[in-house]
Structure formats: C-alpha cells, structure tokens
Symmetry: D2
Subunit: 334 residues, 4 copies
C-alpha cells in the first residue's frame, strides 16, 4: 500500500489541538452562518495573530477562498498578475475564472516561485488597451509553491509597484504558518498594503478551513452575500472556526509549522538527489529522473512530479523524523 506522508501537506489529518477544539465546540445550539460565538472568538484570535482590526471569515475551501478573493479585486475584463506556477494559475481548474466570471490570469516568471520584480514592472507598464485584460490585482503566495519564503522587504517592493498602478493585492497564505515559522513576521502584513489575505488552516494541520481576512474594509460590504453565493458561507460555522481557536490559543499553529519545516530541512540533508530550490519552509524539490521516481514508487512512497519538472516532497505537522529517515534511506537506495 502506498504511503502518502510526503505527497502533500494535506495528506495528514488534523492536529490534536484542532480536533480537541472541534470536539469542545460541538455542544449546544449556535446561530448560523458565522454569527455564532465560537466564530467570533476564532476571528479575534486571527486578528490578534496578525495584529489587525479586520473582518475575518472562515471558509471550507482554499480554492474557493482564493478565487472569491480575486473576484473581489478584479472585474471580468481585467486580469490578475501572479507567478506562473502559483496555485491559482496551475492547480485550480480555472476556479478564478468561474468565481471571477472570466477574469484573466497573467503568469509571470521568477526563480523558485518568487515573482521577479522586473517582470512585474514590465507587466504593469504594458499599455492599458481594450483588446486585452489589463491587470487589476496582484496575487502573491507566501510561503511559495516551491517552499521558499518572501521577506517583508521583498513583498514591500512587489506590492508598492502594484499599488502605484492602483492594483489590489491578494496574499495566498495557504502556507503562511510555514512562512511564519521560517521567520516571516505575519504582523507586518497589515502595513504592506495587502487588501485580502487567506490564512491557511488545512495545510497548517486543521480540518478543512481557511481564514479570509478583509484588510481593506471597503471589501466588507455584502461580503457574506458574496460568500453565500459562492457556497462558502457555512451554516454550521463553528466547524470551520473552532479549529483556529485550538491552534492559535495553544501556539500550535506556529509550532506545528516549525516542526514541518524542520522535517523538510532534515529530508533535504538526507536526499542524495540535487535539491533544486532553497528549503525555507516545509518542502523539498529535487531533480529526479522518471526511472528513479518509479523505483521510489515501487518502494511504496507516493510523491508528485511538479510543474517545473522537479519532484516534490512535502512535510507537515504529522511528518515523523522516522518517516523522513525511512524515505531518506529509500532515496539513497535507489
């Protein structure tokens, strides 16, 4: 039977802190659609984490939360600028186009998943003509798809360029916990000019849940109606908010990410295959030919070949040092 330990950071279950909070929250009656007191408390925790005064919503799906966010920033005849390998560009079956009603995605280059400032500036300087979808939003991801992290300064420069042309800014934080564990100051986000932020719960060790943070208060008007129409205003809201209480109150959100990052570092040290991108979060990308990947599969380990041709090993809160050593040994044996 295949082992999925390193296939993704969503193959793990939920961390004990998240589950305990879920079970705790499962008592009594609560008002629906995110108006319950558990959701209010969870939102307070997210605001404290980020040191912001902003509306927070908890939704079931990362794909939907990012797409709804982009739809809030960009009209259908406009486009979103994003790294060409960003999740919204490569792995969401065109969800931004569905929720955004045909909005365009313009993929830009950049090493190891980090958007190149020069490429961004060229895209921003392209003439605003009616026969093309001109950019209205910038979408950034931290940690990136390639397990690297932006510094606050790097984000500042990219966002400043976008803001100078009037664009809105979305930050996909599906792995924000891993970036935070790598030293990124999440309290700095509010002053960067990000308009809408999605903080990942699922990959951080929770049951499926993402926190949508409306840093631009103008986005709040009828945002619940937007979520409802998008199938992302859950009636039993506590099931998507309670895990946040468990993870944030205990500090597990950060600690569990620190563990995941450490496991990636450990794996990077063990693998005999060349590591292709800096290991700054919870992923290791290596050069590995098809024959080697097949042999790894035969040894029972399932991992993915990625968009850039490398093979990806993801670590999560649940990855054990033993498993890292086991797959390290398997890699050496190939």
């Amino acid at each position: 039977m295949a082992r999925y330990d390193f296939a993704s950071d969503n193959t793990a279950g939920a961390a004990p802190e998240a589950m305990a909070a879920l079970v705790d929250a499962n008592t009594g009656f609560q008002s629906g659609y995110g108006t319950d007191e558990i959701t209010v408390r969870a939102a307070d925790h997210v605001r404290a984490l980020l040191d912001v005064d902003a509306d927070v919503r908890f939704v079931a799906s990362g794909t939907a939360s990012n797409s709804v966010a982009l739809a809030a920033l960009c009209r259908p005849f406009e486009a979103v600028l994003a790294h060409e390998h960003a999740h919204v560009c490569t792995d969401e079956t065109g969800a931004p186009g569905l929720f955004g009603h045909g909005l365009g995605l313009i993929g830009l280059p950049g090493g190891s998943g980090k958007l190149d400032l020069g490429a961004l500036e060229r895209a921003l300087d392209a003439p605003d003509v009616s026969h093309r979808q001109s950019p209205a939003a910038l979408s950034l991801t931290n940690a990136t798809e390639y397990g690297t992290t932006y510094t606050v300064l790097e984000l500042e420069r990219l966002i400043a360029a976008a803001k100078a042309r009037g664009l809105g800014v979305h930050l996909d934080g599906a792995r924000l916990a891993n970036a935070a564990a790598s030293g990124f100051d999440v309290k700095a986000i509010s002053s960067l000019g990000v308009d809408i932020l999605v903080v990942g719960g699922t990959k951080a060790g929770m049951p499926p849940t993402e926190a949508v943070v409306l840093l631009d208060p103008k986005l709040s008007r009828r945002f619940d109606a937007r979520l409802k129409q998008s199938g992302q205003l859950p009636s039993k809201g506590r099931f998507f908010s309670a895990p946040w209480i468990g993870m944030l109150e205990s500090g597990a959100w950060l600690e569990r990410a620190r563990h995941a990052n450490a496991m990636a570092t450990r794996l990077a040290a063990l693998t005999p295959f060349p590591v292709r991108h800096p290991v700054q979060a919870n992923a290791v990308f290596v050069d590995m030919d098809e024959a080697a990947l097949t042999r790894l599969g035969e040894k029972g380990w399932f991992v993915y070949r990625f968009t850039d041709g490398t093979v990806r090993f993801m670590c999560s809160w649940a990855t054990t040092a033993e498993a890292v050593d086991e797959i390290g040994a398997a890699l050496k044996a190939i």
Copy 2:
C-alpha cells in the same frame, strides 16, 4: 442570551456517531481529493442506503452542491423549474446563477412546498422560444421547505412529466433523512428518473457535508474537475466522508431524523397557534403575528418568519423533549 434550538436544523452541532467517526478517521496519511479509503467506504455506505450503483462525492456545502448539480443539468440559456419557495429560489443568493453561469430559475406554485403537477405541466407546455430561458431541468426537494414530504408516487408523476419533455431531474435531499423517517423509501429514488441527488448530511446531524450522487452515469465524466473548479473537491476528503460512515453504519442517519420528526410532532401538538402545513418531517409552521413573534423573542427564543409569512420552528437530532415543552409553554404564555 437567545436560544437557537428551533431556529433551524443547522443550529445543532454534530451527533455523537458522526463525531466519533470523524475522530476515528483522523489517523495516518491519506491520499487527497476524495481518493482516500475512508471516502471510498463512505460512498459504499451511501450506495447501500440508496441501493444504487452510482458515483458519490462528498462536499462541504449544500448551496454549492445543489448549484453544481443544476449547472450539470442546465445550460446558461436554459432554466430550472422549481417550487417558488424552494431553497435554490429563495435562500441561496443566486448561487445557481453563479455556478450555472446565468441559468434561469422558474418558480412554480404548489401547496405546502409541494410542486403542483398542473403548474408543472403548464410550464413544460410553454412554447420553446429563443427570447426566454426554456426549462432544461426540474429541481425537487424532499422533505420540502415546509416540512411536508412527497410520496414516491407523487414524485413519479412530476418526474415523468419532466422526463417526457427531456428535462434532467435534480433532487435536493438536504432533509432526505427526515423524509425517510417519515416513510419515504429512499431506495425508490433510483428508479424514479432522478439524475442527480444531493443527500444532506449537515441537517441530518453531521458536521458540514453533503453527498452528491450521480445517478445518471453520463454526469460522471470530469465531474471532479467540475467540483474542483467550484471549490468543492476537498483535499482532506475524509473530513467530509467519515461522518457518513458513523451515521450510516449505526443507523443513526435514520434514527436521529426520526427523533427530529417526533419532536416536531410533539411541538405541533403543544402550540396554541394554528399550524399551517402538515407536519410530516421536522418542521412546524404556524400563523403568528409580529407582536407575538416579538414576545417570543423577548422570552429568548429565536425563530424565523418564513417566505410564506408563517413562523417556522425546526427540530433536529439535538432537540430535546424538554426544550419542546419549554417553548410550548412559552407559546401558550404569549
């Protein structure tokens, strides 16, 4: 503090059987996006419940599942026929139009939430002209919005009329458990001509989850891509499938609904306000003027005035006989 016991059947948490299964499923690594073994087992249980051989998917949202289902049956320049008070018409912020890209909804009359066969036939007989959205799908709900249930024979007649004109058929089973507990044979659905069925988990006492059953095998092609684009293909699929194992293996899905229905019957017997619709499932609708509703609110009970002007009291798996008696006394005291 307001009490939400009767505000909806989604103000309760999850039943113990569902939570236990969720906790049980939370071990080890599992492949993503509904390919895990827990999801496979849960799908088997749903198939056994319905006695069908059909693809089953588990999704987070009832709004989205119904809307995705309608989008699968109806092109944007076509329309869905539904009861004018059906959830898809009145309570989903136009979600069918978003997921269905502008598809139309044609609301039809019928007593106590049940579609009138004559009204359906007239709508089906309307000329198929290019300046209107002509019907391509029929959407039915069992149990209905008004706590009544269709018999198999009633559904047969409505569906036969729709099928005779080539329409697809969607059954919204958000409260199918309550219909089943009221005597509706869910194993009969497969022979009725329903193309796509949503079986409600959330209102049946689970954490947020709905089962989408593709009774027409032609709908299966790329359905996962459809779900993914719609933000409804969860990466950690077990969290939406495991509750079904707990509820179906134990028989709690039906038993818990039986309890909810019994509580509604108990409440109907207690209320001094005229009951407006037959109490066949877990809801009681009464005539109550605004002053009385206000006084009830002052006594701490939150309930909704509904689309037809009546006031709705919903019971769920978690409703206690004590609470029913309490609110019954409050109603008498008004």
Copy 3:
C-alpha cells in the same frame, strides 16, 4: 403572406436619413473600435441631444447594451430592481445573468409598465441579508413596454428613492425617441441621477445600433475593455455610429418617432377592441380573445399576445396611415 407592420417596431427597415448617412460614411479608411471620426461626430450629436458631457459608445445590440449596463452597476451577488414586465426581465433569455455573471433580477409591479413607487420603496426597505441578492441597481424603461411614458417628475421620485439607498440607476431608452415625441424632455435625464443610459437607435428607425451613455464618469474606466469582452466593441465602428448622425442632424430621430406615435393614436381610435393601456407612445394594447387573434392572423396580420395577456400593435417610423386604416378595418370585421 403574413404582414409584420404591427408585429414590432423592429420589423421595419431603416429610415432614409439613417441609410443615407450610412452610405455617406462608407468611404475611405477609418481607425477601428470606435476611434474613428464618424463615431466621434455621432457621439457629439448624442451629447447635444441630451445636453450632457459624457462618454458615448455605439453598440450593435439592445439586449447586450442593457445587460452590460446592469453588469456595470451590480455585482453577481446583488440584484437589479425592475418592472416585472421590463424587457430585461421577460425577453432577453437571461442575458443580464450572463453578462452580469449571475446577478439577480427582482421584478416589481406597477400599472401599465410603470414601476409603482410604493412597491419600489418596499423592495428597497427589505433587510439586506446575506442569503438573498440585495438590490444594487434600479432599471427603468422610458417609454415603457406598454407604450406609456414616465414624466420627469415620476422618474425623479423613483430615482431619488433608489439613490437614497445607494443604488445605481440604468435607463433603458430603447424607445426614448417615442417618449421624447410624447413630451418627455430628454435633456432632463442628466439631472435625474441616471448613471447609464441606453438610447435606442434600432427601434427609432436605424439599422441595428444603440447608444450607451455613461452619465456617471466613474463607469468610463476600462469600459471599452468591458465592451470588447462582451462582443460589443465593433471594429468597423462607423456602421453603428453613422446612422445617428443622419437621424440627429436632420431631426428625424424625433420626427420619425412623432409619426410612429401618431399612427398608434390613429389605430387606438379605430380599434373596436378595448384599449388596455394609455396610448402615450407608439403602441396599442387591446383585450382580444384567442379566436379573434386567430381570425386577424387569417386576414394576414401578425401581432403578438403580450405578457399581460393583451394583444400588442406596434407602430414605427415606417407605419403608413393606409396600413393603420387597413388593419383597423380588419379589426372591425372580426
């Protein structure tokens, strides 16, 4: 062979003034997509007609122009308030939902096609809840679907109510020429608070063309991109703008509408069937049973039974007094 003289005001061809201008414009090379000098001149004429300083675009389709206008005022999870028999509600196959990506239409009552102020106010006062599409725009039509016209004062009251709640306002002027010919002062529109106006060319006696007037300058940003994505930014723009020069320079836009209105008045005086709505523009609506309508058809005259059950006779710039007398005689003979 059937005669379509009274079937609609789009069964006529184009008036000589429009055709002459079209032929005149058909010389030499012109830059594309509405940047040509003919389009600039035509836009000046429309601005002069309305006494406004506003961007004007010429598009091929009335359906599309109204739908694009509504999409500019209303987000997909919001709704447009309109008369329940307005063209956008009844005759456009859900085009507002396609171009507006699922936006809702809320039909409101009102006698003879004119929106009832009380009904509008009630709709505006409905609670702004997340499970329904709350109104973001008001769509009005002058002259109305039933051949009646709003006075400036009536529009003022309706628009003031909408503006007080922050709604945008769209005016469908498919038959604005007929309203103008009936005494409505089109120069008053700019001070009424209309944000986007569609002035009809097609029904006013031109080849297919409508003028979209952006009275709210905030709508201008990237409006050409919006039109282009909507298939409404014609490359050979002169073919949609030139007719306006011909019709406005000569005064034919108003004169031809006056003729059409006069023909309707003449017909109303002749028909033995009860006239159901005030004849203020170019339409006559009468009570006529199915047998009588069939007999009229057998005499060669094709007309439509309308949404409210009456039978509609439309007059246009091309309707002759002889034809009116002929059909009048036919009606008497039935």
Copy 4:
C-alpha cells in the same frame, strides 16, 4: 492625418456589392430575429458556398461569434486548445472566458500562426486530471493571424488528432475568404470534422457581420436562445444577412479577397524590410525596429507591431495598388 489603409482589414468600409444588397434589403416589413426571408436566402448562399446542409446564423461580432462557438463546445471546467497567438487567445479581452463562463484557453506553439501537430498531440496526451482544465475543443484559424493558410491536408491531420480524443472543433474563418482566394477549398470543410465554423464577413468587405455555421446538427437545439442571451440574435436580422447575398451572389466574396491577397503579394515584393512569414493571404509581416516604425508613422502611415514582434501590414478589398506603391516607397525611404 494618419492613414489606416494597412492598419487592419477592418479599416476599410464595405464593398459596393455588400452595400447595394443592404440598400436593396431595406424595403418593407420583415419578421424579426433572423426569421426573415432575406436571412433565409443569405443562409442558402452560405450553405451553397460551403456545399453543406447546416444551420446558419448571422451575427454582429466576430469576438462574440467565436466565443459563443467555444462555449457551445467546451464546459467551464474544460479548456480550448488554440495557437498561442490566435485571436481568441490574444485579442479578445477574455471574451471566451465570459461567454464560456470561465473555460480555459491553452495556447500551443507553431510556426507562422499554424498549430504544430506535435505540440497538439502532446497537449492531447496530457493526463486528464481534476485539478486542471482538460481540453474539450480545438480552435483553428484559417487564414491564420500571420497571413498563412492551412491546406486541407494539414487541417485533416490536426482535426483527426483532436477528434480521436473526442474534442469538438471550431474553425475561426474571419479571413476564410482570403484562405479561399489562396486556394483553400472551402467545400472541403464539411468533411474535415469541423463542428462549428465562423465565416467572416466584416474583414471580407462587408458591414459588420459574421456567419455562424452549425456543422454538427446537435448544436442547433436552442442555439437561438444561446445567441439571444449572448446579445447576438439581432431583431433586424436583414442588416446582418443581406450583405452576404450581395457578396456571394456576385462572387465578390472570393474576388475581393483575391484582390486583397494580391495587394499583400505586391507589398511583400516592394518592402525592403525582411518578410517574416509566408505571404499566403492578405498580410505582410516584416522585421522593423522601433525607430523605423516611428519614421513610418511620421510619414502618416499607421500600422501595428504584432504579438511576435514583427510589424503587420494588412490589405483589404479596398487597398489600392497606388497605396501599396506609396507605402512601398515610404518604406524604402526610411
């Protein structure tokens, strides 16, 4: 004042044959929405041109007609394969995404605008996974964006590859007349497996009009409703169909294209700048640096730099040999 003779083949007006037919058609009353006898006659002419028995519709916009065609072949969670420089990919402001509700476009390479068969096969062989929009349709263009033409054999191979995987096929024939004038047999299209064809009228010398040909009869059901919702079912249909009668009855459709092609050949022979793509239709693409382009502009000639960096000179039915010689001299003088 700038001269637009070579800026595009839509900067010219309409050919005399088209205008004469338009004027001829402008008499009497006609039924609406494409049911008129002029439209019926024009459709017969298009069917005869292509030697097919297929439904034909006449619409105002090339952008909309191509987008509606793709929407008819491809669901929102699927993708269209097209040349990466095809008009639908580069110049339509995301219209396929709006009319197709979020469908994806996958751009493929190929020399001089012609899709590379190997690239197509690789795209077709990509795994059909739920997290990407997998191809459902192939869109081809003849003549291509770069003034080259496919042979029947070349199209056969591309289409066979697509059909073998069950894709639908769209042919954008905005410049089909130029391909025909270059030797492409338009009567061969029906046996190639094309499902939906757009024959260009606008660039062939007509007022704005395109003919949509439904070669797959299954596409016909409710296609008029699809067009109506898309703002492409004109009420005064004759204005979009009559020009086809004039151009096809007289043979001008082909003859005018022959002239345009000949002018391109003449220009290619005159230009001192390296011609970059084979001149097989009505376009010449040359290598020209920015300074030279600026000088040409200063001499009064407006032309575009194209997606691949070359400068494009388009000829049309209206291009005169004198103008070719003039611009040839200007080019030499730079």
